[in-house]
Amino acid sequence: MENAQPRKNQSPITYLKPAKGWLPVDFKELWRYRELIFFLTWRDIKVRYKQAVLGIAWAILQPLLTMLIFTIIFGVLLKTPSQGLPYPLFTLSALLPWQLFATALQRSSVSLVGNANLITKIYFPRLAIPLSTVFAALFDFTISIVVLLGVMAFYGYWPGWKILWLLPIVIFTFLTAFSVGLWLSALNVQYRDVQHMVPFLIQVWMYASPIVYPIETIPEGVWRVLYGLNPMVGIIQGFRWALLDGNPPDATSLISAVMVLILLVSGLYYFRRMEKTFADIV
């Protein structure tokens, strides 16, 4: 496939046969299609801000405005405790990974259906579609991280060496969003209920994550363990800890990590199993 020139006996052989059983993810093929993933990501970013007067500024405004609303309602009016941090900073540091997750979720759930015209006409690894959607959400995230650093500077917080932890945490967030995105995108191909459900899912999920309130609000013991099943708990906790201070991730994060692993493996499995029928039922 690397070579465009027809050459005798060197051309790759493709086998056509009914898909059966467990299909491993073909990472080599995915790598070969990296340029397609790049262009799909680039298209998503480009198209999103086309014909918007404020353009890319929306990526800055969205977390800032949400921060403002939460600060007024939860910080000022309800006087929610914030681990000794200024409330705006407390909530913004959680909103960043949260919005990365929520945007990725929302977009990837409709990604396969939205690209139905491609799926029914041309072959490429279908994983490229949810993958590029999550990459595009990562772009917004990168911009908003600059905003967070600005707000931190405003309150006189300087990140220490722990900021290096940000990279693994972001990768972990990416994987979490991708895993859930895999499930939702594949399910949505067959059951359009999913796309109606996702906004509620995101809303519930947000209140089930320590964004507007600190994790200490949840009673220790069984409740805290159950709470930790939500991977965003560990992510947000780690994110805050790496940038500001607060409490370092604990055993709860470990539960989150296991959850994500389960979601990812099962998501890939389900996606690969359904992939062969996308073109027929989308």
Partner: protein
Amino acid sequence: MSDIAIRVENISKRYRIGLAQSRPDTLRDFLTFQFRQIGHFFSRSKKNRYEGPGYIWALKDVSFEVDRGQVMGIIGRNGAGKSTLLKILSRVTDPTEGFGEIHGRVGSLLEVGTGFHPELSGRENIYLNGAILGMRREEINRKFDEIVEFSEVGKFIDTPVKRFSSGMYLRLAFAVAAHLEPEILVVDEVLAVGDAEFQRKCLGKMNDVAQQGRTVLFVSHNMSAILRLTQEAIVLDGGKIVMRAPTPEAVDYYLNMGLTKQGERFWRSEEFVHEHNPFQPVALRVLNTQGEVVDTVNAADGFDITLEYQLPSAVNNLRVGLYMMTTRGEFVFTSFDTDDPEMFQKYSARPAGRYISRCHIPPNLMNEGRFVLGVNASSYRIQRFFQDDKALTFTVNAAGAPGSHWPEKRLGPVRPQLDWKIEKVEE
């Protein structure tokens, strides 16, 4: 060149139909569906679940080989399985049964402009579309100028394509696809769109591809394109290969398929969409001057074409049309039964009943040869009730036509009696 490029063995593809009943589309259906599945599990063997009215075989036991460098045509009516076959070959969907192997990179032109985004500029779309079709960025860079030149969109290249005229859009889309260099090219009906100039250009490009020794699979309803580009063709009908032969033979077979009697064509009721179809064709006939149903008519005598049909209820603004085509797929004329304003006044609203629309072809109009009749019933710009592009073929005999004292063949599908005057203008 005895290398094999494509080999498929007993490829079959099953689709589910009647989706509303048999396939869950919403969660509620899903739950009831699951319960029924459990019921099926206990009551019937697994095999039975896939047979019966809920499933159709779009392809059944299709086997063939295509040699490297061969240009193969695939023809068949709508629903014969052509597109399904191409989708399987280009790996968009999997066969339900069977096996196949493809030697080389496959590029598909299943629809021009797949993946174009209206908000993006022409330049951006070239890169995006190129990547979608499987080109590498470096490859697109290299061919970029060539693509722009071929598309003739020139200075609009940085304008969003949503502002393009449909012609420009098509040209750009085809230009990208045409510069793909796969070893095997799969083409489905790309020529069905665009103006004559565009089609000429597309055919030229396709010809180039074929000349370069690449394997091409070409699906089209355009018989003249099939005849021009391919040496061999496969005829599909009802999901099966009914013929594989040199193209002229295959095209002739295809055009004559499904005729009940020479000079006459009946429609079976299952060919309508459903029994409530407001327009139900009964028969199309070619009649000589004595009113006999015939396969061969004399151009010098003229002849009649009749379409008999049933209207279960009154239909407004109905017009019944005839298309005359050559066997190479070129149109000779299109005519409607209410072309005449007076006829339109009188018959555009037709009460329920059985009708015959009769078209008289005057003497000395058609040239000799074999012709294809297509029929169409529609209300202008509102609804198409029925269409059959190749309902019937018949032969025109030129005996006694103008100029037949010269026993030579004349070019063109018509051989009209024209008024000539000869004047002497100088001594």
